[in-house]
């Protein structure tokens, strides 16, 4: 297993549970949270090196969660995911505090490459 853990936060439970399964299949420890509140509960219990957060969620939005994490868990790298995007597949702007932003749907390889990049590891950027 890789020496880091990833927390996936998205109100789409089917998406995050499948991503957790696929990441673990590739040797990456991962946990899922379907809201901002549950994400903070998980962060209280366990340390995560990377958090993948959906921008648009009911209740606390991805930006709200990002703001809190910048203060409470500054060491946790944040990758944002969103259904909104531009034609070339990139977000118009990456909010301050986030490492990058990924547009749905994305491949698992693209996600893993961003995770490695966020952690400063050698990785290949998947378009």
């Amino acid at each position: 297993m890789e020496p880091f853990s990833v927390l996936l936060i998205d109100d789409e439970e089917e998406l995050v549970s499948t991503l957790v399964e696929r990441l673990e299949f590739r040797g990456i420890r991962a946990a899922a949270a379907t809201s901002g509140r549950r994400a903070f509960e998980a962060l209280e219990k366990q340390e995560f090196q990377v958090a993948v957060i959906d921008l648009k969620m009911p209740g606390l939005s991805g930006i709200d969660v990002l703001e809190v994490m910048r203060r409470r868990y500054p060491d946790t790298k944040v990758i944002l995911i969103t259904g909104h995007g531009t034609e070339d597949g990139s977000s118009a702007e990456v909010p301050p505090g986030a490492f990058d932003i990924l547009l749905k749907p994305f491949s698992i390889e693209a996600l893993i490459e961003r995770i490695h990049a966020a952690l400063g590891r050698q990785g290949r950027r998947v378009p």
């Binding site: 089917e14 991503l19 648009k56 034609e87 749907p105 491949s107």
Partner: protein
């Protein structure tokens, strides 16, 4: 036909109510302005007219009175002079002296030399017998006792006769002065005066050709010939006005109905009335010239005012119409902007909602792939892996579509960035690639390998070329040909050409192709696409031109600046 852009059809010309409104505005403007401008002009001219006329008539009266007074005084002087000299003679000379023909002749010669106008001179005793006479006629011994003048001079002492022919057979009048003798008898000195004397006094130098000056007696018998109202000793056709001690000027109509001014003066101590007649038409000739000038000025001023008012009201209505058109155009643009923004928000929402389930499908399919790939061999394993790969590819395609859709609808505000125009047109074409395939439309591109990046707005350019290419697709028949080309035009501009060999556009429709709500697609077209395209190109600092022939095809040419300013004031 190649059409330079910049002309927009007047939508109001198709609106009868709008036309009536502009006609009404123009009518009211014309009427009000004409009233304001012309009423003072007419009033002023009218006042001037009557003042001029009054002044002219006063001048006529004054001039006539002056001429009449001068003539009258001249006559008075002549008569008075002769009367006085006769009175002096009859007082200074005795009857014996006056009865002496030799002395009377000498006296007559002195009179003639000093005063002139005398024809003869005679002395008549109380019985009426001319006892002495000097003159050209044989009148010595003639008895005047039964004549009325003799009786009158006997009674009144002085007598001036009317003009008559008498024994002499030429017009003359008589002045007679009586002197009483100490024994109760009397004698009379009688002189005959030639009428030429009066005629010379009546016709003063400077009188007009139309002036008629003559003398009548109080019964209306002409004492001198009149130009227009009778000859000597005939009855004057104009009645003698009633007595007035001063000169008078009156106005009247003659027998022919011609208006005239009559001046008259009763000559004191004579039966004569001096009359001066001038036709009003002649007197008013100067006034008529002044009046013509005044009325010409009024007519010219009126014409000038009318022309200016018509022109200015037309200009005013045109400006109002242009402002209305601009306002309507802006409303249309705002409406379209709102519509596009609404569609954009809807598309963004739909894309987002689709992207989430797409992501789930993608991950589930990926999980299936992972499981299958790492599982032991099972029936149809390869088929399952292929099916999963197919699902992932389809998801990827869907993702491309939704991302592109979001790209189109994300921003409405102009934002410049470096853009590779051939790539942008290719991306737009991808939207229509399937339609081209299904309709067997051949798409030919002529994009140079090296092409400068332009500074422009991506969203606007996408809309521009999507609209133009969509328009070409609508015109193309199945199996048609679409050509897309870009080229540079000098150091500052690039040109994109979209050419189809479709049905073409008629000359009449071509004039209106960029006007809002103009459509040849009937209920299937909004008539906004090319109008908005025109506005977007302008906003990007470029221009769009169209050339077309019916049955041969249409070419749209979009010229853009390489670093053109974005006009943020233009509503989209």
């Amino acid at each position: 036909m190649r059409l330079p852009i910049g002309r927009r059809r007047n939508r109001d010309t198709d609106d009868p109510e709008g036309e009536r409104r502009y006609s009404r505005i123009r009518r009211y403007t014309v009427i009000l302005t004409l009233v304001v401008a012309l009423v003072p002009l007419f009033v002023l001219t009218g006042v001037n007219y009557f003042l001029y006329r009054r002044s002219a008539e006063a001048e006529i009266r004054y001039n006539m009175s002056r001429d009449l007074l001068n003539t009258s005084r001249s006559l008075e002087f002549v008569m008075e002079e002769r009367l006085s000299v006769l009175k002096l003679l009859v007082q200074e000379r005795t009857l014996a002296e006056l009865s002496d023909s030799r002395m009377l002749t000498a006296t007559f010669q002195h009179l003639e030399q000093s005063f002139g106008g005398f024809v003869d001179l005679g002395c008549i005793n109380a019985e009426g017998i001319q006892i002495a006479y000097t003159g050209p006629y044989q009148l010595l011994g003639v008895n005047y006792r039964e004549q009325s003048w003799f009786n009158e001079v006997s009674l009144r002492g002085v007598y001036v006769s009317d003009v008559f022919l008498g024994y002499r057979r030429f017009p003359h009048f008589v002045i007679a002065v009586k002197r009483a003798a100490g024994d109760g008898s009397f004698y009379v000195l009688r002189a005959t005066v030639d009428m030429d004397l009066l005629n010379k006094r009546v016709f003063l130098p400077g009188m007009g050709r139309q002036d008629d000056v003559f003398i009548v007696n109080r019964e209306g018998i002409l004492q001198t010939s009149s130009r227009f109202h009778g000859q000597l000793l005939e009855r004057c056709t104009i009645p003698v006005p009633s007595y007035s001690p001063s000169t008078e000027v009156i106005e009247d109509l003659d027998e022919a109905g011609v208006s005239y001014a009559l001046g008259y003066s009763y000559i004191p101590n004579t039966p004569f009335v001096l009359m001066m007649i001038r036709r009003r038409a002649d007197l008013l000739a100067q006034w008529v010239r002044d009046r013509t000038e005044l009325l010409s000025f009024l007519a010219l001023s009126t014409v000038g005012v009318v022309i200016v008012v018509l022109y200015s009201s037309r200009s005013l209505v045109m400006q109002i119409r242009a402002a209305d058109q601009k306002r309507v155009q802006m409303l249309h643009d705002i409406e379209y902007t709102n519509k596009m923004a609404t569609i954009g928000r809807l598309a963004a929402s739909v894309a987002h909602e689709i992207n989430n389930p797409l992501a789930i499908i993608n991950e589930k399919a990926g999980l299936l792939h992972d499981l299958a790939a790492h599982s032991d061999e099972f029936p149809h394993r390869e088929k399952v892996l292929k099916a999963v790969e197919s699902i992932v590819k389809s998801v990827e395609r869907c993702g491309t579509v939704t991302h592109r859709l979001l790209g189109f609808t994300r921003r409405m505000d102009a934002k410049t960035e470096k853009i590779h125009l051939p790539s942008l047109i290719s991306e737009v074409m991808e939207f229509l690639g399937k339609e081209a395939l299904h309709r067997n439309i051949e798409v030919v591109t002529d994009f140079p390998e090296e092409f400068p990046l332009i500074e422009s707005d991506r969203g606007y350019l996408q809309q521009i070329f999507l609209n133009v290419i969509n328009n070409a697709f609508a015109a193309l028949r199945d199996g048609g040909r679409l050509e897309l080309a870009v080229r540079t035009a000098g150091p500052d501009q690039v040109v994109a050409v979209v050419r189809d060999d479709g049905v073409g556009i008629s000359e009449e429709n071509l004039k209106h192709i960029f006007e809002p709500f103009f459509s040849t697609k009937g209920q299937f077209g909004t008539g906004l696409g090319l109008s908005i395209t025109y506005g977007l190109v302008q906003k990007l600092g470029g221009r769009i031109e169209v050339a077309s022939r019916v049955g041969e095809g249409t070419t749209f040419t979009v010229t853009l600046p390489i670093a053109g300013p974005v006009r943020s004031d233009y509503p989209v």
